[in-house]
Structures are given as C-alpha cells and as structure tokens.
Symmetry: C2
Subunit: 236 residues, 2 copies
Amino acid sequence: MSQSHIMSAFDRDLESIQALVMRMGGLVEAAILDAAEALETRDEEIAQRVRAGDKAIDALEEQINAECARVIAIRAPAASDLRTVLTVMKIAANLERCGDYAKNLAKRSMVLAQMTALPGSTGSIRRMAKQVTLLLKDALDAYIARDARLAEDVRQRDHEVDQMYNALFRELLTHMMEDPRNITPAMHLHFIAKNIERVGDHATAVAEQVIYLVTGQLPGDARPKVDSTTAGGPVA
Amino acid sequence: MSQSHIMSAFDRDLESIQALVMRMGGLVEAAILDAAEALETRDEEIAQRVRAGDKAIDALEEQINAECARVIAIRAPAASDLRTVLTVMKIAANLERCGDYAKNLAKRSMVLAQMTALPGSTGSIRRMAKQVTLLLKDALDAYIARDARLAEDVRQRDHEVDQMYNALFRELLTHMMEDPRNITPAMHLHFIAKNIERVGDHATAVAEQVIYLVTGQLPGDARPKVDSTTAGGPVA
C-alpha cells in the first residue's frame, strides 16, 4: 500500500466536510433549475418548495462553518491544509448566496404569474439557469479533483452567460418600449436575469478559489467582464 | 493593573487586524458616498476615482485574510478566539462586496451621465447611500465595541433603507410609463438603488455576526424583510 493511500485524521475530516459541500451544491443547482421551471410554467407549488428549501441550504452552510472551525481547533492544520479549510468556507459562502438567488427567483416567479407573460423571455431565462448550474457543478468538480484546468474553463465559459444576459436585457427593453404594460413584468424578469448572471459570477469565484488552492495564486484580471449594459451598450 | 489590561500576543494580532477592517470600512463608506455624488453631479472624475479605488479595498481584504490565516496558524487560538478570527474574515468579505457595489454604481453613473436625467431620482439615491454608509459605520463600531444592542439597532434600521428603495422603485416605474425614453436610464437607476439596498443587507449581515460573537447565537428571522417589489407590491 503506497503512502498516498494512508489518510490522516485531517484528511478524513476534510473529506466529510467536502461531502457536505457537494450536497449543498446539489441542492443549490436543483433550486435554481426548479425556480426557473416555476417561472416558465407558472407553477406556484414548485416555487413554494424552492422558497422553503433555502433553509436546508443555509443550515448546511452553518454546519460546514462549524465543522471547519472544529477541524481548525482540534487538528491545528499546517499552512496548506489551513488554506484548504478556509477555501471550503469561502465556497460554502458562495453557494449560500446562490441559494438566496434561487429563493428570490422563486419569489418573483410568483409575482410574475399574476402578470402578462412576455413571449420568449422565460425560456431565455431557463437556458441561462441551465448554463449557470453547469458552471457551478463544474466548479465544484474542479474543487474536488483540484483541477485548475477545469476551473479555468469555468471562468472562460462564464462569458457565455454574460452574453446571454446582455441579449435578454435588449429583448426586455424592446418589450418595455412596445407597451408600457410590459414595464413591470420586464423589470422583474430583468432582476431575475441579473441574479442568474450573478450565480455565474459565484461559480467563477469558486473556480478562482480552486486555482488559488492548486497554484497558490489568484488569477489576475485576464478574464474580460462583458456586461455591455454598464459600458454604454444597449442605450435606447 | 488589572488582569484585563494585559494583552496576549493573540489580542495584539487581533487588534492590528481590526485596524485593517476599520480602514477597509472607511474606504468602502467613502466609495459609496463618492459614487452617489458622481451620479448626482455627473462628475466623471469622481466616478473614475471610485472605480480605481476598488483595488485598494480588494487588497485590504486579501491582507486581512492572510493575516487571519497567519494568526490561526501560529497562535492556534482557542474556540472563542477562533470564532472571532473567522468573524473578521466574514466581515471583510461583506465589506469587499460593498466595495464592488460602489464600483458598479460609479460605472453606471458614467453611463447615465450620457442620458436624460430623471428629476429627483439621483437625490433619492444619494439619501439612500448616506443611510447605508451610516449603517455600515455603526455595524463596524458595534463589532469593535462588541455591542450587541447597537448591532440590533442596525438590523432594525435597515428597514428604513428597504422602504426608501420601495418608494424609489415606484417613482422609477412612473417615469418609465410616462415616456419610453426614460426606460433605459430608469433601469440603470433601479439597479443602482437595488445595489445600495444590498449594501444595507451587508451591514445587517455584519451586525448579525456581531450578535453571534457576543451572544453565541445568530438572530432568528425576527426582522421582517420589506421588499414590497417581490411581494406583489407596486404592480402597475
């Protein structure tokens, strides 16, 4: 049996914490997809389930934080192990925020169900939601495998989410210009889209933590941020 | 000289980290106020300064994280001290997000400077900005003084910010309905308002960390969240 197969007490602790992180990731991905479905199908029951489910996500973050503090206290990990534990806490904080966005999406879907539907928009949002959950999944897989290349790939792909958001922003403006009755639903949809785009940013933040963990350095500003709505982009 | 005046090595380390947090808080407060001023006066120079200044805020967060990791590694703090160090890292993360919001506000102020001004709105936003920077300041003061009562006060006052946001949301809807040319600037202003409201949420998060530190428990859901825009509120 080679040395590398002998697990230390610290490794065992870390492994059980990582299992919690993966479970949290799974819940968050499901919440985002379910919320997007609730929005598209105007299904209040699914929306309610997502809203209620956020408590479990928050509880997992608290459990992860408590476990990490316990491991630091009793194992007094060396520098690189300590870095890993602190990274886990940061990843959990990112996932918790994504859970909040899913809850918010579910809430707004219930408001939107009472308003005129804007053709096409909820489909675009569902596609964005699908894309960001894939980014989140890959970022977490990259963490478990300590795979800096996959993490870099996540960073690059967040780009596409930004582009989907920009296209939707323009689409919503058009609806608003066409008919003032579209303004309120379009503003809600715009918020939803922005929040989903932020989930992509959190997936990127997780990916950057992975790169930091593997290489010892946070990536620079290499990844150009493309939100043309703050760059004088879609000006009507 | 009483026992309580003798500082341990850990206390000295913590004190110097707390000084960094307070400096970070000062920079964030100034950034938010400056960005709101840039928006109101259409002053591109101030906006540029805020955008550039975010790097210093990010660097402080990194420095705080590195110092905290160092303290944990070399002092191996006991449970309650460890909790304090982990709280400091969480507070720094909250401040970093607020810095991002200020940067984003500055960016959008430059886009808005090219568009029709909507009467009154930028003044309302400046008042909101003033209010949230006070909340941030009080939350940090509560942290330094371990003052759970002041922290609870911050939580309650975040309410007023939520109400200011709701009023502005309605105001912006009115502008949009009146004239389609107002739609694009109103959407930008709406984002800005939402981001400032989020700064208030981060101040509340800091206050809740203080309560956790002092009482050992996170406050429950006692504080009702009043964002009437997701509660079927201002439906046009």
